[in-house]
Symmetry: C2
Subunit: 348 residues, 2 copies
C-alpha cells in the first residue's frame, strides 16, 4: 500500500544483501522510519517489542528470522535455537508457529550448507503468498460489502478495531483489504477507527494507513463503539484475527469481544478477515485453548511516557480476547466467504 503516494510492503526483502527492511511501527504515526533487519537477534527483538506486529506480518517476519538464524548457524542445533527463540517472541498469533514450521519443514531435510538459501526463498514465498492471499480475501470481502445496504443515507459505515491493515500483514491487510478494494471500486465508505488502548494501534496505525490511502475515517475511543452501534451508525464491523480455532472462535486484539457483543445486540454483521494460515486446526475451544499474551503493566498505566494513574498503580494487560464463533457472521478468507459452521471446509 501507499505511503506518501509510493507503494510499499510492511516488510521488504532486499535480495542483493539478503536482509529485510521493516517500517518501525513503534514510531508511527509521526515518524516513518525504515529499519534493516539482518540477524536473528534483531528480528526476534523487532517482533517482541512490536516494531512489527499483526499475525500475518509476525509470521512473515519470523520466516526471515529463521533464515537469519540458519545463516548464522546452519546446524540442527542452530536451527532449533532460532526456531525456539522466534517462537517465544509472541504467544497468541498462530501464524508465527505456522510460518516457522513451514520454513523448518523445507530446510530440515537439507544439508546445512543448503539451508540458508532455501530458508530465504521460503520466507520470500511466504511474503508473496501473504500479499496474494490478502488481495484475494479483499476481493471476496468487497463482494460482501457490495451487498450491504447502508442504514442511513451517505457512505457505507464500517467499524474496525486495532490495526488489521497492510501494516499487520505484508501488504493489503486483512480487515482493511476489503475496505481498500471497496475504495478502489469507487464505493463511498467511511471507517470508524477505535483507538485500541493500551497500545493505540487504531489511532496510530489504522488512521495512518487510511489517511495515506485517502479513505474517510473518524477516530473514536474504544468506549464509543457500543453507542455508535446502538444509534444505527455502523453498517458492519470488520476485524482481523490472531488465531481462529477449527470451530471459529476468534482470538483478536483485546476489545474485539465487546464490539462483537454490541454488533450482535444490534443485528450488525460482524466479519472476521484472515488468511487460512490464521486457523489453528489443532484446537476447537478458543476460550480454553488459546494462550492469551499478558503484556507489561506499564502499557496500561502509561501513555506516550505519561503516567495516567497514581504512581505505583497495578494494572492487568491481556493483549487479546476470544470472541466465540456464535458472534461471527462471516469469515472472509482468500479461499472465499464462510460461516463459522462451514469453516472446516477450508481444512485441506
Amino acid at each position: 500500500m501507499k505511503i506518501s503516494g509510493r507503494w510499499h510492503r510492511a516488510i521488504e526483502a532486499q535480495h542483493s544483501e539478503r536482509c529485510v527492511s521493516i517500517l518501525d511501527q513503534t514510531l508511527l504515526p509521526h515518524t516513518v522510519d525504515w529499519r534493516t533487519l539482518n540477524s536473528l537477534e534483531a528480528t526476534a527483538e523487532a517482533i517482541s517489542v512490536m516494531r512489527v506486529r499483526g499475525a500475518p506480518l509476525i509470521g512473515a517476519t519470523a520466516a526471515f528470522g529463521l533464515y537469519f538464524g540458519v545463516n548464522e548457524s546452519a546446524s540442527d542445533e542452530g536451527l532449533a535455537l532460532a526456531y525456539d527463540k522466534l517462537l517465544a517472541t509472541r504467544p497468541t498469533a498462530v501464524n508465527l508457529r505456522w510460518a516457522l514450521d513451514r520454513v523448518r519443514r523445507v530446510i530440515q531435510p537439507l544439508a546445512p550448507s543448503e539451508r540458508a538459501l532455501a530458508a530465504w526463498e521460503e520466507a520470500c514465498r511466504i511474503s508473496d503468498e501473504d500479499v496474494a492471499a490478502n488481495k484475494q480475501l479483499g476481493e471476496h470481502g468487497l463482494a460482501l460489502l457490495q451487498q450491504l445496504k447502508p442504514r442511513s443515507p451517505g457512505p457505507l459505515q464500517l467499524m474496525t478495531h486495532c490495526n488489521a491493515g497492510w501494516l499487520a500483514t505484508v501488504d493489503w491487510g486483512t480487515a482493511l483489504s476489503p475496505i481498500y478494494h471497496a475504495h478502489e471500486a469507487g464505493m463511498d465508505v467511511h471507517v470508524w477507527v477505535s483507538e485500541t488502548r493500551p497500545r493505540g494501534q487504531g489511532a496510530a496505525l489504522t488512521c495512518f494507513e487510511l489517511k495515506e490511502q485517502g479513505i474517510p475515517h473518524t477516530l473514536i475511543s474504544d468506549n464509543n463503539a457500543g453507542h455508535l452501534l446502538q444509534r444505527g451508525l455502523v453498517d458492519a464491523c470488520i476485524v482481523g484475527a490472531d488465531r481462529v480455532t477449527s470451530t471459529g472462535d476468534v482470538a483478536n486484539k483485546i476489545g474485539t469481544y465487546m464490539k462483537a457483543l454490541a454488533a450482535s445486540a444490534h443485528g450488525v454483521p460482524f466479519y472476521v478477515a484472515m488468511p487460512v494460515s490464521t486457523i489453528d486446526w489443532t484446537i476447537s475451544d478458543g476460550i480454553r485453548d488459546i494462550p492469551i499474551e499478558q503484556r507489561a503493566e506499564s502499557e496500561v498505566t502509561h501513555l506516550a511516557g505519561v503516567d495516567i494513574a497514581p504512581v505505583g498503580t497495578r494494572a492487568r494487560n491481556d493483549a487479546f480476547d476470544v470472541t466465540p464463533a456464535s458472534l461471527v457472521t462471516t469469515f472472509i478468507t482468500e479461499r472465499g466467504l464462510v460461516t463459522p459452521t462451514e469453516l472446516h471446509r477450508l481444512h485441506f
Copy 2:
C-alpha cells in the same frame, strides 16, 4: 473521604467567607490542588472544563454557582442569567437542572435582598443531603454485596467504570460508596478500574480514591472488561449514572453500555448506584430523549498533550451512552434497592 489520611469533601463550603473550595480534578492524580470558587464565572468555568465533574457534584457546585450569581446581581434578571449560564455548562447530567431548580424555587419568591443568603443555605443543604444520600445508598449497596458469592476463591471482584466515587459527589460517591462501606465492614474486595478513555477518569480519579482509602484495585484498559467478565473474574459491576429515565434507562459515561452488555452475556449483576435526584421523571425513553454531550475531538486525538493519531485526524467524542433498563439488575439508591420496573415507586 480521605486524602493522605485526612477527611475531605470534594466541594467544601467556607461559611465565613461564603466561598467554596474544590479539589481541581483536572490536575489529579499527580497534584492535589484546592481551588477557591467565589464567582458565578469561576463556578461555570470549573464545571465546563471539568475541574469538578460527576452528576451529583455538578449539581452541588451549580447550586453554589447560583448563590454567587445572585450575590453578584440579585434581581430577577441576575437570577435568570446565572441560572441559564450554569445550565448551559453540561447537557447530560440531570442533577445540574435539579439543583438549579431547587435553589431557584426557594429564592425566586424572596425579595432580592434576601436571595443570596437563602441561596447559600440551600446550596449547603444540597451538599449535606448529597453526603447523607450517598452514605445511605452505600449502606443499601453493602447489603447487596454481602449477598454475593465470589465466583472464585479470594476477594469479591467488583468492576466499575469512570469515576463514580466521592470525587463525583460531595462525599462517599455513588458506585464506590457500597465498596467503601464493604471495605469498612471488613469485606475482602478488589476493584477492576477501567481507564475510561478519552479523559481517563478511571485511571486518574478512581485509582486515586481507592489508593487513598487503601482498597485493593487493578487498572485495566476499557477493552479488557469483556475478557475479564468472560473469564469469571468479575462478581458484579457497579457504575454511577448521569441521568436515569422514569423507566430505568441509564445515561452514564461512554463505555458503560458495552460493559452492561458483557455483564449480561455472562450473568454478572450490573448495578447502577445514584441518588434519586439523578432520575429524570419527565422522560421515559433514554435513547430518544437524553441529550448526549459531544466534547472536543482533541480529547480523543490527544492524551496528556501527546498526539496519538496522525496530525489532522478527525474524531468523534460522545461523552455518554445509554444503557437500556433491561440490562440493569438493580438500582442502588438512598431510598433502597429497586429493579428497573420498581423504579417508579421512588417518585413521590
